[in-house]
């Protein structure tokens, strides 16, 4: 038999393929086995969970019943307590109210007495002050009346003096005006009569005379 290289290669290839197939089969078997184990384990765990839940449910039921009973008990006790408390509170309030009223009455009495006393004191004070002020005012008015009389006398004298002064000034002013008027009338008379009656020759002489006077008085000195 001739063993060729191709034959050898074919054999090696087949062997290889078979080896690979074998390996795959082993792997698949392992996987399936592991899956099976896992499912079995899961089933166990689920079973445990169920048991725990059932137990918990039962216990919760029991607790609920106990609680309900306890609540009923507490509720009935509480109702009784509340009734007692309301009664006690009412008593306390009545006591407080009575005390309060007594206190208020006492205070009112005290306040009333104090108020009456204060009013009497105040009235007395006001009366005293009024009498005192009245006396002071009366004294002041008497003093002022005396002073006013003096002032009036002094004022009258001042007014009289001023009036006399004004009359004197007015008299002087009028006299000055009368004198001015007389002077003006005299002046006008002289102007009208004397001015016309002075001859031209005399007028010329008066002018030359004025020049001479001016010369004498140094008017023409440069």
């Amino acid at each position: 038999m001739i063993i060729t290289a191709d034959y050898i290669i074919m054999i090696i290839t087949i062997t290889g393929v078979l080896a690979v197939l074998g390996a795959i089969a082993i792997f698949l078997h392992a996987v399936i086995k592991k899956e099976h184990d896992f499912q079995e384990k899961e089933k166990g765990v689920f079973k445990d969970y169920q048991a725990i839940i059932d137990k918990a449910h039962t216990e919760a039921q029991e607790v609920l019943e106990d609680t309900s009973q306890a609540a009923q008990r507490i509720l009935s006790q509480t109702r009784g307590t509340n009734e007692n408390m309301a009664s006690d509170l009412d008593k306390v309030l009545q006591h407080i109210a009575q005390k309060h009223i007594e206190l208020l009455n006492d205070q009112a009495t005290t306040l009333n007495q104090t108020y009456e006393k204060k009013v009497v004191e105040l009235l007395q004070t006001v009366q005293d002050q009024f009498i005192k002020e009245l006396e002071t005012k009366t004294q002041s008015l008497v003093t002022k009346a005396t002073t006013s009389e003096d002032l009036l006398d002094q004022k009258t004298k001042e007014l009289l003096a001023n009036a006399e002064k004004e009359i004197a000034e007015y008299k002087k002013e009028r006299m000055t005006k009368v004198e001015e008027q007389i002077s003006h009338i005299v002046e006008k008379t002289y102007q009208d009569i004397l001015g016309r009656s002075i001859p031209a020759e005399v007028q010329q002489n008066l002018i030359i005379e004025a020049l001479e006077k001016a010369k004498k008085e140094g008017t023409f000195e440069l």
Binding site: V186, Y190, L194, A200, I207, I208, A210, L211, A214, T219
Partner: protein
């Protein structure tokens, strides 16, 4: 030409401020004729300036040795004359009546005899003065009027006027 122009030849022409204006006007006319019409001064004097002023001005120029045919000399002479006339001192007289020529001449004569400087008169009329005058010269003022004397001594004036009358 002398420094100070002698205005004495113009005395009869220059007695009052009115006269002064009447002399200054012809002198201005001489200047205008020369500048505007180029007319010689001598020709203007002969043709436009009234006699005897024209003759007096010629004589004054001659006395000052001014050749009126010489425009420069003549112009300078007349300008100087204008300035000198404008600077003549004025005696202001206020009196109660309008002055007559006779009074003006009398007053000028008196001023010429009694005041060395050349002066002219200026008049104001105030009828309230009654008589005499108020005189003002070179910043000095005097009131010799009868009005003032009357105000100061009424009886004295009345007696004096009665005596004069």
């Amino acid at each position: 030409m002398s420094q100070a122009l002698d205005l004495q030849p113009l005395r009869s022409y220059l007695r009052t401020t009115y006269d002064m204006r009447m002399v200054l006007a012809p002198l201005e006319e001489l200047q205008q004729a020369f500048y505007k019409q180029k007319q010689p001064f001598i020709e203007t004097l002969d043709k436009q300036i009234p006699f005897p002023l024209s003759d007096t001005l010629k004589q004054m120029a001659s006395k000052e040795k001014i050749d009126l045919a010489n425009p420069t000399q003549a112009q300078e002479f007349f300008v100087q004359m204008q300035k000198a006339i404008q600077q003549i001192p004025v005696v202001h007289v206020t009196m109660s009546f309008q002055p007559t020529i006779a009074l003006i001449n009398t007053m000028i004569r008196w001023l010429s005899e009694n005041i060395t400087s050349f002066v002219i008169l200026d008049f104001d009329i105030d009828r309230t003065l009654i008589g005499s005058a108020k005189i003002q010269f070179n910043g000095k003022y005097k009131d010799y009027s009868i009005k003032k004397r009357l105000a100061e001594h009424p009886m004295d004036v009345a007696n004096q006027e009665q005596t004069n009358g």
